[in-house]
């Protein structure tokens, strides 16, 4: 037995801090088209390699290559491009509004648009999505009224959530979009529970849940995988690995020792590691997982490899903890640019058409913002009534809350 040496404490450090050169050499990439596509009825044990490779469809020239290239009709791709462009325009507008004090807080998803958008357009109406705060792309892809999104952000009189929730904590049942929680990870096991219920009822609808890579450390992640495998729940378990959790890089969540996709292996859950900035890969991987779920083959875990290009939130300043230019050297590029390049490469799109699309979406977003602001913002204080804060604590307002409401009104 080795002689006793002093033990050392290890803490993973990100490759680069402010002032240093960005370095993504730690990322294991695969060439576009190089990863095999097993049938959906493959035994989990026969596909463990897919948790370590990276499924990519679009090559650097924008060509769709390899077994994961989806036979997506082009209409779907244009729809996806529109939604991604719109999502970015929406984020830009809301960040401006936040700076103007029209809302207290905002979170963008810049660089990650392909995941929520592709997922939204690939899953079926009725399937339930359990999102994080960075999946606004789903609502936009499903054409949920943008004015309603903004009214929630402005907490104004038309906010469907009556100003109760922080900005961006949307709830949109009519878009199959579950109420966002401010508590990380809780929705992951809820998605599994929802899927279990659907199976118990002999329904045909599946569920999909999302967490960030940092949130994989929470208990709910483990509960979700345990319950999903035990009951073979029809659910897609998405881990959006955007490399950062506020100031903590993915190594703090254990990412330096394995992929997050590989977490699924130990539970016997088929797991894919996918280029999240490759819109075609998103469609294709989502379709594969959804088909497994729908055909009673159980859960699939998908790690989406992407990068959080913007600040964590309007309260955050990433230049304090990572190189300001890191995003520029991100090897997987910008999902919008990459889909655009693809569509141009296959002669289905042009720079001009793209410029028009951007201009149109900007106009649409501006118009929506004008309307939403006309219903009030935090600035002008036209918010839901104080009375309403006593509603929906319970289905009916119990006596003690009625007394408290009366007291509130008396003591104004």
């Amino acid at each position: 037995m080795a002689e006793a040496v002093p033990l050392r404490f290890g803490i993973p450090e990100p490759p680069a801090r402010p002032g240093e050169l960005a370095d993504f050499s730690y990322l294991d990439l695969s060439a576009a088209g190089s990863v095999r596509r097993p049938d959906v009825d493959v035994a989990p044990a026969e596909m463990r390699d897919l948790a370590y490779s990276l499924i990519r469809v679009l090559d650097d020239q924008g060509a769709a290559v390899g077994p994961w290239a989806p036979d997506a009709d082009l209409g779907a791709l244009h729809e996806g491009l529109r939604a991604m462009v719109m999502t970015r325009a929406y984020d830009d507008r809301m960040v401006t509004a936040q700076r103007q004090g029209k809302t207290s807080f905002y979170m963008r998803c810049t660089g990650e648009e392909a995941i929520a958008v592709g997922h939204a357009l690939q899953l079926r109406p009725g399937d339930m999505f359990f999102p994080t705060y960075r999946q606004q792309g789903w609502l936009i892809a499903r054409r949920w009224p943008m004015v309603d999104m903004m009214c929630q952000v402005f907490s104004n009189e038309k906010d469907r959530l009556h100003g109760r929730q922080m900005p961006i904590m949307y709830s949109a049942r009519d878009a199959d979009f579950f109420s966002i929680s401010g508590n990380l990870g809780t929705q992951f096991i809820q998605a599994v529970g929802w899927a279990m219920a659907s199976a118990i009822n002999g329904d045909t609808r599946i569920a999909s849940g999302v967490v960030g890579e940092g949130t994989t450390a929470e208990a709910d992640f483990h509960h979700a995988l345990t319950f999903a495998t035990t009951y073979q729940a029809p659910v897609i378990l998405n881990v959006v690995n955007n490399q950062w959790a506020i100031s903590s890089f993915q190594g703090i969540a254990g990412g330096s020792r394995s992929t997050f996709a590989a977490r699924g292996i130990g539970y016997g859950i088929p797991s894919l590691r996918v280029d999240g900035n490759d819109y075609l890969a998103v469609l294709s991987a989502t379709r594969w997982a959804a088909e497994r779920a729908r055909s009673n083959r159980g859960p699939t875990l998908i790690e989406w490899v992407t990068y959080r290009a913007a600040a964590h939130s309007s309260s955050d300043d990433p230049s304090r903890y990572r190189p300001a230019e890191e995003w520029k050297s991100w090897p997987l590029g910008d999902p919008i640019e990459r889909l655009k390049t693809h569509l141009i490469a296959v002669d289905e799109w042009s720079e001009q058409q793209h410029a028009d699309l951007v201009a149109d979406t900007d106009r649409e977003v501006l118009a929506a913002a004008k309307e939403a602001e006309s219903y009030g913002t935090l600035l002008d204080g036209r918010v839901a009534s104080a009375r309403s804060i006593f509603e929906d604590v319970f289905k009916d307002i119990p006596p003690h809350l009625q007394r408290q409401r009366r007291q509130m009104e008396d003591e104004r």
Partner: protein, 334 residues
Amino acid sequence: MTMNAAIRSALDVMMERDPNVVVFGEDIGYFGGVFRCTEGLQAKYGSERVFDTPIAEGGIIGAAVGMGAYGLRPVVEIQFADYVYPGLDQLISEAARLRYRSSAEFTAPLTVRMPCGGGIHGGQTHSQSPESLFTHVCGLTTVLPSNPYDAKGLLIASIEDDDPVIFLEPKRIYNGPFDGHHDMPVVPWSSHPLGEVPDGYYRVDLGRAAVRRAGDDVTVLAYGTMVHVAEAAASETGIDAEILDLRTLLPLDTDAIEASVDKTGRCVIVHEATRTSGFGAELSATVQELCFYRLEAPIERVTGWDTPYPHAQEWDYFPGPARVSAALRRVMAG
């Protein structure tokens, strides 16, 4: 009927009536639960509606929230209330606030059953009474029955409730109305009027207390096992106590409490949980707010001590008839 049989009957009745009711938890399926509360249900309703779960209280409650959002009515068992803490985040942050934060787009109509209380030599991890924690969380209804008849009617009402309900079951009285005299032979429920339980469907409404003993001298506020301890103390002291069985802690039946204390002018509060910030604190604060000018003596709290529940000395910890009697005498002297 014993109290666990009454609970089983309530589950049976509700599974029969409502296909959306599903029951799950640790060891509750084939085996029927460590306290037998789900015995026979899997055989009758199948393992899709009655099933075992992994040992993960947070997973059990989290999955139940998702099922509730789907439209089912999950009734889950936490094997002992002492083990609910891993599930508290899903209860507090999710179940209790889902209706509010989604403006009723999504709700969590779950019932979380858990045996609580001591007196079975369970030590610090099989004896706890965490009810006051739940009453501090807005959005949760907290129920704690004292007898088989109420247990069944309240559990049915809890399952039918469209919001999350915490349903605590004092395990010491599953088999009989224990009055704190641990050295006496166990009295079976069959010899107690409230052990008479109809087979079919009935409700005991949430939010309503019951007068177990009418009296003029002092009001005793109690729930669960302590109702029986209070009854023993009243008869042993000969003090004409009015004993209120609160049954639902939140929403609290303040009308019944106010009416009784206005009549008696005195109040003793009894619970098994530790004293500091126990539910007795809320009761005491409420009583003096409602009845200040009628009070003739300080309100007393008789509770478990502020220590973990000891194993060998559990009868020194348990607030039995002797301690309740002492408080009654003090309050009458006050």
